[in-house]
């Protein structure tokens, strides 16, 4: 194939790809802060596009302009009109550049001011997000300890209600970034940061860690699920409940396996003996849509593969392989499916 056609196809492909995702895109805002960021993005885009076109136009004019052949030896001309003219152009364009950069600076500073002011006056919902290598711990704190909800990698929020996200990290620096909803916010070990968010439309918005944090940085995603306040309350009420005791004998056997083997050393299932805070809380595991921080859809097959050999799926993650007989595995999976 002709080289130029190849290049053209490649460029076209890139442009198509860039145009595709509505998911995880800062150009498809769903909250007031994301709208401010999007506005700033377009202001900078149009300004730089105009500057780019002007520069290219002048450059091509210089290329196209007929060259003078047989240039006579240069003679030194003092204080000529052309020289004055040229310095005026240079000074003018320098001034213009400064003004343009200043406009961008003012826009960007005011956007970040508005962004932090936009919601602070209202009565918010508080959510605690803790970054771990490589997953997100999400807590809905309550003054009553037994009303506190902890989950992982899935943040449910009601539509149209401001939410303050208090965030910190347990190990290294992570960064919380759901582009449809807000800009990035770093999570620092030993230090609390806060960010206000609000979603104005229902939907599932993907976010991910935006600060390189080790082997599985790329597999550290989360979802913000914005839903109607009624649905949100129903979800929260369900999550508050401890895990129901299984009735099915197979699931009962699964529960026994969970609480007597390696699982119990790291995971919590409220209502059982499992209470470690090292790994994600699994009290309502089956209600989540993904496992391993957005790496795989949450279904029986993926769960089985993950339990047996997580290192094949996410090499370097903290979960050890758990070899077990197929009978034990089936029982364990049956139990995990009851954690709705």
């Amino acid at each position: 194939m002709d080289r130029r056609i190849k290049t053209a196809l490649l460029l076209l492909g890139c442009m198509l790809l860039a145009g595709c995702p509505k998911q995880q895109s800062a150009l498809d805002p769903t909250g007031p802060q994301a709208a401010l960021i999007e506005h700033l993005w377009w202001v900078i885009f149009w300004i730089t596009l105009v500057v780019y076109c002007i520069v290219l136009a002048i450059f091509s004019a210089g290329l196209v302009k007929r060259r003078v052949r047989d240039i006579p030896p240069p003679t030194v001309i003092h204080e000529s009109e052309t020289e004055k003219h040229l310095s005026l152009i240079v000074a003018g364009s320098t001034l213009l550049t400064i003004i343009i950069l200043f406009v961008i600076l003012v826009q960007s500073v005011s956007a970040s001011k508005w962004e932090s002011r936009a919601l602070t006056s209202k009565n918010p919902i508080t959510i605690q997000v803790v970054g771990h290598q490589w997953w997100w711990e999400v807590t809905y704190p309550n003054t009553q300890a037994d009303q506190t909800v902890t989950t992982a990698n899935e943040i449910h929020i009601p539509v149209g209600v401001p939410v303050v996200i208090n965030s910190t990290s347990r190990d290294v620096i992570h960064s919380f970034w759901a582009p449809n909803i807000h800009g990035k916010r770093d999570l620092l070990p030993g230090y609390n940061t806060a960010v206000w968010i609000q979603a104005d439309q229902e939907g599932r918005f993907r976010g991910q860690c935006a600060e390189f944090c080790g082997h599985q940085h790329a597999h550290m995603a989360f979802f913000i699920v914005a839903e109607s306040p009624e649905k949100f309350q129903a979800w929260l009420q369900q999550q508050v409940k401890p895990a129901a005791d299984p009735t099915d004998p197979l699931a009962k056997r699964g529960q026994q396996i969970f609480t007597t083997r390696t699982c119990v050393m790291c995971h919590t299932i409220r209502g059982t003996d499992a209470g470690s805070r090292v790994g994600p809380e699994l009290t309502h595991l089956a209600s989540r849509e993904t496992i391993a921080a957005g790496t795989l859809p949450n279904n029986v097959g993926n769960l089985a593969g993950w339990i047996l050999d997580p290192q094949a799926i996410k090499p370097g993650n903290r979960m050890p392989p758990n070899p077990m007989t197929s009978e034990d595995l089936q029982a364990l999976l049956a139990y995990l499916q009851t954690l709705r």
Partner: protein, 181 residues
């Protein structure tokens, strides 16, 4: 000559186990452990502790994983950061149930009377070995290039790599064995 030198250097680096990070660990059931003498009384001279090489003692990543697990599995709940509290300290020369890797492995897996729980079936074998390597580094039993040279959190004591080696009492010949304080 230069090329040969570079090749040799590359080979030498490839042979270094210190920085290797192997995530596909062998998965086996808990290995058979060793006998530990539970009484201080014995007929004749004490038998030498059986040597059992720890496969993870030459690898810095495994030792640091051991340190992480020491916190994650709440060993520090009783042994603090090696200084002891509810359980005996791990930074000194006293080893009630032996200082050899195999003996410490045994202590973790089987548990010991008066407080040490048995972690049999609760911790994968390779992680027990990582814990063993870290526990031994607490009293300076590991070479300094493998032991941790810094902590992730604030700590009142020197990092393991700077801890001087304690000499377990079992290392002394039987007739020179110092008295217990």
């Amino acid at each position: 000559m230069k090329h040969i030198f570079i090749c040799l250097l590359a080979l030498a680096i490839a042979g270094c186990k210190r920085e290797a990070r192997d995530f596909q660990r062998p998965v086996t059931e808990n290995a058979p452990a060793q006998d530990v003498q539970l009484s201080e009384l014995h007929p004749g001279s004490p038998s030498p502790a059986p040597k059992f090489p720890n496969p993870y003692e030459e690898n810095a990543y495994s030792v640091s994983e051991g340190k992480r697990l020491f916190g994650a599995y709440n060993c520090s709940g009783c042994h603090a950061n090696g200084g002891g509290g509810i359980g005996p300290p791990l930074i000194d020369a006293d080893w009630v149930y032996g200082s050899e890797s195999g003996q410490i492995y045994d202590t973790i897996v089987k548990g010991r009377p008066n407080g040490m729980p048995s972690f049999s079936g609760k911790i994968p074998e390779y992680q027990v070995w990582e814990l063993v390597a870290y526990v031994r580094s607490l009293s300076g039993q590991l070479p300094i290039d493998v032991a941790n040279s810094r902590s992730d959190h604030m700590q009142g004591k020197k990092p393991e790599a700077l801890t001087p080696k304690e000499h377990p009492r079992t290392e002394y010949p039987a007739n020179l064995k110092p008295e217990r304080p």
